[in-house]
Amino acid sequence: MHAVLPFVPFFPMVAFAVLALAGGRMAPRIIAITGVAPTALSALLTLITTGAFLGAPPDGRVLSVSFWTWVHIGGFAPKIAFYLDPLSLVMMLVVTFVGSLILLYSVEFMKGQEGYRRFFAYMNLFIGSMLILVLSSDLLFLLVGWEGVGLSSYLLIGFWYGDPANGAAARKAFIVTRVGDTALLVGLLLIFTQLGSLDIQNTMGSAQAEWARGSGMATAAALLILSGAIGKSAQLPLQTWLPDAMAGPTPVSALIHAATMVTAGVYLVARTHVVFDLAPAAQMVTAIIGAATLLYAGLSALAQTDIKRVLAYSTISQIGYMFLALGVGAWSAAIFHLMAHAFFKALLFLAAGLVIKAMGEEHDIRRMGGLRKDLPIVFWTFLIGAASLAAFPLVTAGFFSKDLVVDLTLSSQRGNLFLWVVAVVGALVTSLYAFRVVFLVFFGDPQSTLPRSTSPQERRGRGFGKASVVPLLVLATLAVAGGWMQLPRQWGGPSAFTDFLQPVLPAPATRVGGFAESAAPQVIVAVISVAAIYLSYLLFARRPAVVAGVAEHPLFQRLSNLALSGWGFDRLYGAVFVTPFLWLTRGGRGDVIDAGVSTIAWLARLLQRLLRRSQSGRLRYYVAAASFGVIAFIAVGILR
């Protein structure tokens, strides 16, 4: 297993290097093979590793492979090394599997696009970096993956660079996440200076030994790490970049901005959970941010009209659930939801990509409708995805994972009723917006006459080969069955997932007795999510007139516009950061300081001009000046 592990990130990185350096002469077929095969191979290796890991667990359930010491200066010796434990194994599985499925989908989806090779190069760079991120044993090396995924995200959002708007979205993503990254960097400075190491395991060990619970250092470290996580995972207040990131191609949104990269923050917090354990205040902040974000983004999703933006806000909201779970100490529940979310959200994006393509690049859900019959496979898979997102009880993966999160929000000792209520309201909103999309897009009458006038066969034929459909089917299966390994504790069923993670991520201490332990909370959540689906049906399919009537009201309109724009965060940041920055840079273009120093030159020239004028060559001026001088000297001599 030691020998195999390094190859998992190595293959996609090699694919990136080959594709990036290849030049423009590769046949599309070769590009596709070079682009997909290495990641598929990595997935295979991951599977082998997993098998070995489960069959004959290594000592302490940890596998570490060390390559070299990055730098060695005094006590500072970060390593380039991998560390595989159950947590990174789960992440590695998600990344390689969802990654290869999405790459496979892209082979057809991106066919004929300019920059086919560039696309696969960037995608492989992303997968390689993401694997480095989840496998690295050192915080500094983790940063290589961390920024690497940021870079590939930037490159892929701005993939269609011809449109300046895409460039702006890409830059926004990079810069906003970099704000969080900088906080993380400062966190690293603090951790190294205080604990003398950046190795994750060592650091966690010495943190436990050095820092008392609730100490200032632990809290500062946890908050700085959290800031990095918030940036990458698009949580309040650094969430603004994710909706705009939808400017990238749909497979990118599926892989980077739904399934994997944006959940890196969740991984990071889970990875460093010891520090958070020592800082209850920071943990509380995490929970509050998660709760606020899940509501905020859910309500925004409800108002969106662009299908991808609905899904983007939904992603923000679901990651909010994960942060909520982290905030109450339910580390493994957060990772469980991360995995389930990766399945159903990737599925939703891929299906949405096909819808958009079938509609001729139409993104507006109000102009779709009745696609149920035209695109049956897409419809069913999207429905499964939406049901999983809405946590449809008893079957879907989303139900089991969200149930675990919501349950622990109440029953964990760090949780409380208030957070639970927010989570439940969030579940209601989730069902509403998820099925709003389903009903508007797939039910009702066709709303648009754009390319829909073409015959259904033609539409069905557009880009719907096996390569795009198979990933949908696989992901749909996972979106349902992916949660069956972990049944709610009230059912007394298996809890394979949390058991597997137990050595890394201990279960939170729970409250005993009372409301939290009864079956009531679970039933309430289940009922609410189903009821919300019905409500969604009433509002968006059965009686759209009601919604239309309410929508006429100016107050509602203002509210809906506000939600549509993400509650004015962009405008706020624009006014507070962007405008002053532009004003400053525009004002200072001429280099004020240089201009200041240059006044010396100006003064010298002025003096030179004055003195030159005195050398006029006219004798009478010289005589006059001389006499004045003599008089002045005499005057001074007498008066003194």
Binding site: W70, V71, F76, Y161, G162, A165, W211, M217, D306
Partner: protein, 569 residues
């Protein structure tokens, strides 16, 4: 002997280039390349001999302990002036950097320089020779001699082969550095006489002048003289005015040498002379110097963002990056000094690369104006890839050398001055802003040939309902701007980087990547020197050592931190 050769080879190579140019310009170029590579070979041989084995600490007095080779010949012995050269790890790094960059400079001028080729290469090689002298001189008088000598060839490189405003830029450059240099000369003489009057030995020898007992007032004034000279070179904030003009007006090779080597003389001088000669006095201005460093990081980043001239943009990024160097030097501990050395090398390559890129672009487009660029990626994909790589290096992407350098500097600074480190880290966000803006304005956006309508992508752009406010402005700007880009439509694919340029860029990228993944090569080379320097000038403040009690730590930032109680259980 090899030390003398390091200066003599490029000096003689200059004459060869000058006299062969008449016959065959091509031979002149090759000979110049050969001279610089010979210099590189000489310094590499020294490096291999002394730094690849497992060398133990060598004997000697403080300051000379790390010297692996010295030459000491009397020059004007009556006045205590010696031709004293010496090489240690730091010097060697600077020497290798010098010859590597001059070689790249020769390559970068392969096509661009057409008139007075011989003189051009002579001047370039003489710059290398005087730089080699600067980096090896151990006699202050000799150091000053080389320090001033390198200005002359550079002045002519700028004023003869530069761009439209070259005269003014060259004169400005000369006056700034000359003024700084004179202050240093005064300080050197002051040190000479003070040392002579107290010890009776009148000498300019660096190793003997180390540890001269000075009154704190005298030390402060002398230190300021040195500081001014090096702060102009570096440049530190209010004295940076010459840099954008000189860098942007110089020919490509000149810009590469200026950005890669000349401003590094400031860093080298501070490390080698300023702090070791006047430790107490320099540590007294630590706070001011760090403030200047941080201000430089921000000011340079702001200015870089607002430029419309590509080379000026790159020039201002240097101001920003040199802010980190100043910060690291005054943090004065092992981590920070290693970071400074790495930053010096990585910045030389990444910014040198950017200047070569800008020069190559100018050869093709005939302009440096960013307003007239945009969308070049589809026509010049190799330019795009290289530009992206260098932009990432500039913004400090982990895995590239600049990141390691800046991280080490921040780590070192954090121990000494926490607020400075944190504020400087925020500067990394600004670096991201200007680096991405550079990529956007040059390579992205609608491609010039296709006008506004096209560019790759879906016909219906996603309905970005909440698009950021900034998105709308460039869209309209480019719509009107494309009319002014007719020249660019003539671009063909074969205008992309040619084989020579690809090779140059490959070297640059390789070094940056190498130092990003295995900086240990450099770290090991500079270690002895740094240890020696730290012994000479032990840092004044008690560092916050790892694993010590955290009780007394004033908290760095967050508001939400509860009052720290007893941190140890």
């Amino acid at each position: 002997m090899i030390l003398v050769l390091l200066i003599a080879v490029p000096f003689a190579g200059g004459f060869v280039a000058l006299f062969t140019a008449r016959r065959s310009p091509q031979f002149c170029r090759w000979s110049a390349l050969a001279s610089s590579l010979a210099g590189l070979g000489l310094s590499l041989s020294l490096w291999v001999r002394h730094f690849t084995g497992a060398g133990g600490p060598s004997a000697g007095t403080a300051g000379s302990r790390s010297m692996v080779q010295q030459v000491d010949v009397g020059w004007i012995p009556q006045a205590g002036i010696h031709f004293h050269l010496g090489v240690d790890g730091l010097s060697l790094i600077m020497l290798m950097l010098t010859f590597a960059l001059v070689a790249l400079g020769v390559l970068a001028s392969w096509r661009g320089i057409k008139d007075r080729i011989g003189l051009f290469h002579l001047l370039l090689l003489w710059t290398a020779a005087s730089l080699a002298g600067v980096f090896t001189a151990l006699d202050l008088f000799l150091f000053y001699f080389f320090f001033e000598m390198m200005l002359v060839p550079l002045y002519f490189l700028i004023s003869v082969w530069g761009h439209e405003d070259r005269r003014r830029a060259a004169i400005k450059f000369f006056i700034y550095t000359q003024a700084g240099g004179l202050l240093m000369l005064v300080a050197i003489l002051g040190l000479y006489f003070l040392h002579g009057s107290t010890t009776g030995i009148y000498t300019f020898d660096y190793l003997q002048l180390l540890g001269t007992a000075l009154s704190s007032r005298a030390a402060t004034w002398l230190m300021l003289g040195f500081f001014m000279a090096f702060a102009v070179k570096l440049p530190a904030l209010p004295l940076h005015g010459w840099l954008p003009d000189a860098h942007s007006q110089a020919p490509t090779a000149g810009s590469v040498v200026l950005a890669g080597l000349l401003i590094k003389v400031g860093a080298y001088g501070m490390i080698r002379f300023l702090v070791p000669l006047f430790p107490g006095a320099s540590f007294r201005i630590t706070d001011v110097a760090m403030a200047l460093g941080v201000a430089g990081i921000f000011y340079g980043a702001f200015m870089a963002f607002s430029q419309t001239d590509l080379k000026r943009l790159v020039a201002y990024t240097s101001v920003s990056h040199m802010g980190f160097v100043l910060l690291g030097i005054f943090a004065w501990n092992e981590l920070a000094l290693q970071g400074v050395v790495l930053q010096v090398v990585c910045h030389a390559f990444s910014t040198g690369g950017l200047f070569m890129l800008a020069g190559a672009l100018e050869e093709r487009l005939g302009t440096r104006d960013l307003e007239k660029m945009g969308g070049l990626w589809s026509h010049l994909p190799r330019f795009g890839g290289v530009g992206m790589f260098l932009a990432m290096a500039a913004l400090g992407l982990p895995g590239l050398g600049n990141f390691v350098a800046e991280f080490l500097i921040l780590l070192g600074t954090y121990r000494v001055n926490r607020p400075a480190a944190i504020v400087a880290a925020v500067g990394l966000v600004l670096a991201t802003v200007y680096a991405l803006w550079f990529v956007q304005r040059v390579f992205h956006g609608p491609s010039p040939a296709e006008g506004t309508t096209a560019g790759p992508g879906p016909t219906g752009a996603p309905a970005t309902t909440a698009a950021p406010g900034s998105a709308a402005a460039p869209a309209t700007a480019t719509a009107s701007g494309t009319a002014e880009k007719p020249r660019l439509t003539a671009l063909r694919r074969r205008a992309d980087l040619n084989r020579r340029e690809v090779a140059m860029m490959f070297v640059v990228a390789l070094v940056i990547l190498w130092l990003g993944l295995y900086p240990q090569t450099l770290v090991r080379t500079a270690k002895e020197t740094n240890d020696d320097l730290l012994r000479l000038a032990p840092p004044p403040t008690e560092e916050i050592a790892p694993n010590v009690s955290t009780d007394l730590m004033p908290l760095a930032s967050p508001v939400l931190v509860p009052p720290a109680g007893k941190n140890r259980p």
